[in-house]
């Protein structure tokens, strides 16, 4: 007891120091800090690179999915003037709003941006694009006010309160409009409600994407499990050789595999020729296996199968064969030993492989585009369509954000099940 307190008082009196007289604790802290700084310095270039080239674009997409500055930019005076108008009334706004609209449109027509605004508002209310185009042509010969009558004369939709409600509703800088459209809803004077049955496409498309991804995951599991089992239980030399048959497709270009399926599955293709030759089908009854759901599922199962086999294999490799032997020695038959002992041990592998395949499948674009026809397309194809054909970027961004959200949730689950650090390649 006495000795300990003596040591304590001694250390309190003279602090341990390094050779150059600095307290040891501080010196160690400084070394640690330097080490942290060094590792951060090494990471910094890549972090900056990824933030700039990848994270910022994603953030930009998030922003675009709600951004709606175009209305305020194009017709600023009208937006202000409309604040005083009661959208619940059945009256169109008064002369001062029309005056503001005239002033705004004169500038907009000069800058040729009024059609863009028309296209933007057309997403919310069909007919707006035409309305702005017609009005734009009428503006130069409108002359002096009062404008209310002249506008209604130029295009009778200006006399419809619904037109004004739409403009007022979509005047703010940010809008939930694109997200509403992405889940087949719209914002009417009755509040938010679903679009009419015949116009609903996105919820159905999301559901189909999820359902087909699930089917693909299930068929990958069905085909991948026996292969992984065989590879994990064969002698090393044989299994390494057979592994090449799994890795070669894995390393082959996606487009090569898709074109192979396109060639195999078409009506004048190899599989149909073979079936006709064998006599299973006659020449007139050639199977339609491409440009539909079947084609997408077959091709994508083939493409994603290695992603199921590899995690399953790495889990099965760690299961000791003595477990099954022990079960059998205790009287289990082959099936019981497999189902009650071996299979539960492979569940982590099933989880990892299934989530991976599902995440990959749900965002696929190329293969559905090439072999899916119209009935086998995914939500990604719709996003691409809105970016490059319909040019409704806001809606494309909103659909993308929803898809991204789903993938993030799945990925969080993957991280919990497998762990990010355990991601292995090849």
């Amino acid at each position: 007891m006495a000795a300990i307190s003596e040591v304590r008082s001694a250390s309190a009196a003279e602090v341990m120091t390094t050779a150059d007289g600095m307290p040891l604790k501080r010196s160690l802290q400084r070394a640690l800090r330097r080490e942290k700084m060094r590792s951060l310095m090494l990471i910094a270039p890549l972090l900056a690179f990824i933030l700039l080239t990848f994270i910022l674009p994603i953030a930009d997409m998030l922003f675009r999915s709600v951004e709606n500055g175009i209305v305020q930019e194009t017709i600023p005076r009208t937006v202000v003037a409309l604040q005083d108008w009661d959208p619940a009334s059945d009256q169109i706004p008064g002369e001062q709003v029309f005056e503001a609209l005239h002033a705004d449109l004169v500038e907009a027509v000069k800058a040729k941006v009024h059609t863009k605004l028309g296209v933007r508002l057309n997403y919310e209310k069909p007919g707006m694009s035409g309305l702005f185009r017609t009005t734009g042509r009428a503006i130069p010969r409108m002359g002096e006010g009062p404008y209310q009558e002249k506008f209604v004369e130029a295009a009778k939709d200006w006399g419809d309160p619904e037109t004004w409600r739409t403009i007022r509703r979509y005047a703010p800088q940010y809008t939930p409009g694109y997200f509403l459209a992405a889940v087949d809803s719209e914002w009417t004077h009755n509040g938010i409600e679903f679009r009419p049955e015949s116009e609903r496409i996105y919820l159905f498309l999301f559901a189909r994407t999820a359902w087909m991804s699930l089917l693909i995951t299930a068929s990958c599991l069905l085909l991948g499990y026996p292969i992984a089992y065989l590879l994990a239980n064969l002698p090393m030399r044989t299994s390494n050789l057979l592994m090449i048959l799994v890795l070669l497709p894995f390393w082959t270009s996606l487009l090569v595999r898709t074109s192979a399926w396109k060639v195999l599955l078409q009506q004048q293709g190899v599989i149909n020729d073979l079936l006709v030759w064998v006599g299973l089908i006659d020449n007139a009854g050639r199977l339609v296996m491409i440009n539909n759901v079947t084609g997408t599922i077959i091709a994508m199962t083939h493409i994603l199968l290695p992603f199921m086999i590899l995690p399953l294999y790495s889990v099965m490799k760690t299961i000791s064969p003595s477990y099954v032997r022990a079960a059998k020695s205790l009287g289990a038959n082959d099936w019981t030993a497999f189902w009650r002992v071996y299979f539960p041990n492979t569940v982590p592998g099933i989880g990892a492989g299934a989530i991976l395949v599902f995440i990959l499948a749900i965002g696929y674009y190329i293969t559905p585009e090439l072999v899916g026809g119209t009935s086998g397309v995914f939500i990604s194809n719709r996003i691409a369509y809105h970016i490059s054909s319909s040019l409704n970027w806001g809606l494309a961004a909103a659909l993308g954000v929803i898809l991204l959200g789903v993938v993030m949730v799945l990925f969080y689950v993957y991280d919990k099940v497998v762990g990010l650090d355990n991601v292995k390649l090849g």
Binding site: L32, E35, K36, S39, L40, L42, I43, P45, L46, L47, F49, I50, T53, F54, I55, P57, I58, M61, R64, L223, I227, L230, L234, P235, L248, P249, W251, T252, S253, L254, L255, V256, R257, S259, A260, V263, L264, Q268, V270, H302, L305, I359, G363, Y365, I366, L370, S380, I383, S388, A396, A397, G400, L404, V407, F411, L420, D421, V423, L425, G426
Partner: protein, 284 residues
């Protein structure tokens, strides 16, 4: 599993062989579509199926005309040239900064390690169509859309997660006393890095680079959006070919690419063995 015991019952015997037949069929499903395009690419006709002449092994049924088309058609040659100029540069960028970051990440005290890791791996996880959409929007704001460097940077970003993963995997077994020994012998950090650390992690760096290369070389979705017609790469040309007028030249290109992936697979396998040998994981 590995062999059938002599006392196996008839049922066990049937299952043993039945299981192998099932596995054989699945292997066939995996490999057949890739191999079947090779003989088809030598078709003398513009068909996508075996002609009677081909089945009769008549030499007249085979020809190199689709390969000739690939090597003479300016569209395909331009696409090949674009692929060959984009992929190596993207690989170089991804490998250089990816390796540095991987070394940083495997130090013992990294603040916010998991958050940084999540950000760095994200290009691999986010579906390509979303990356492509985001990059298209953002790059057109800053004037990179439709330029060579836009595509290179986008591809480099997609390739870095693979470099990070492979290099950190090699660094897990790295013996830190080696760098300390080198420092105690008077080498500065840069010299230590190139003389001691680099040779040991080289297999990981090369396989990471191969992954980054193939990511860029095979990539279609991002280049479709970020690139313009003058950055049309080989996969892009294949994509348009498949979508519009499917010509058998695609099969010739596909066969060449299969040969390329076999080469790549072999290189990776050699690297893996070398790395294990270097790190003393397997004797011999």
């Amino acid at each position: 599993m590995s062999a059938l015991p002599p006392y196996a019952s008839a049922g066990q015997r049937a299952w043993f062989y039945g299981f192998r037949v099932i596995c054989g069929l699945i292997f066939f499903f995996l490999i057949f579509p890739i191999l079947v395009i090779i003989p088809l690419s030598f078709n003398a006709e513009n068909f996508f199926t075996f002609t009677p002449k081909m089945l009769a092994l008549d030499p007249e049924g085979y020809s190199l005309k689709h390969y000739r088309d690939f090597f003479t058609n300016p569209d395909w040659q331009q696409a090949l040239w674009n692929s060959v100029t984009i992929a190596p540069v993207a690989t170089l960028v991804a490998t250089a900064i990816g390796t540095l970051a991987a070394i940083g990440l495997s130090q013992s005290h990294v603040p916010f390690r998991s958050a940084i890791m999540a950000i760095l791996i994200s290009p691999m996880i986010v579906p390509l169509i979303i990356s492509a959409a985001g990059m298209y929007f953002f790059y057109s704001r800053i004037g990179l859309q439709g330029t060579y460097w836009g595509v290179v940077l986008a591809h480099a970003a997609l390739g870095t997660p693979f470099v990070i993963i492979t290099v950190t995997a090699t660094l897990v077994g790295f013996d830190r006393s080696l760098t300390r020994a080198s420092a105690s012998l008077g080498a500065d950090p840069v010299r230590t890095f190139f003389k001691v650390q680099m040779p040991l992690i080289m297999p990981g760096v090369i396989s990471g680079a191969l992954f980054a290369f193939i990511t860029s070389f095979d990539e279609v979705v991002v280049v479709l959006f970020v690139g313009s017609a003058s950055q049309k790469t080989l996969p892009w040309q294949m994509f348009t070919g498949l979508r519009e007028q499917i010509s058998p030249t695609i099969l010739a290109v596909a066969s060449i690419m299969v040969a390329l992936s076999i080469l790549l697979l072999a290189t990776l396998e050699i690297l893996r063995r070398r790395s294990e040998k270097l790190r003393g994981l397997t004797p011999g």
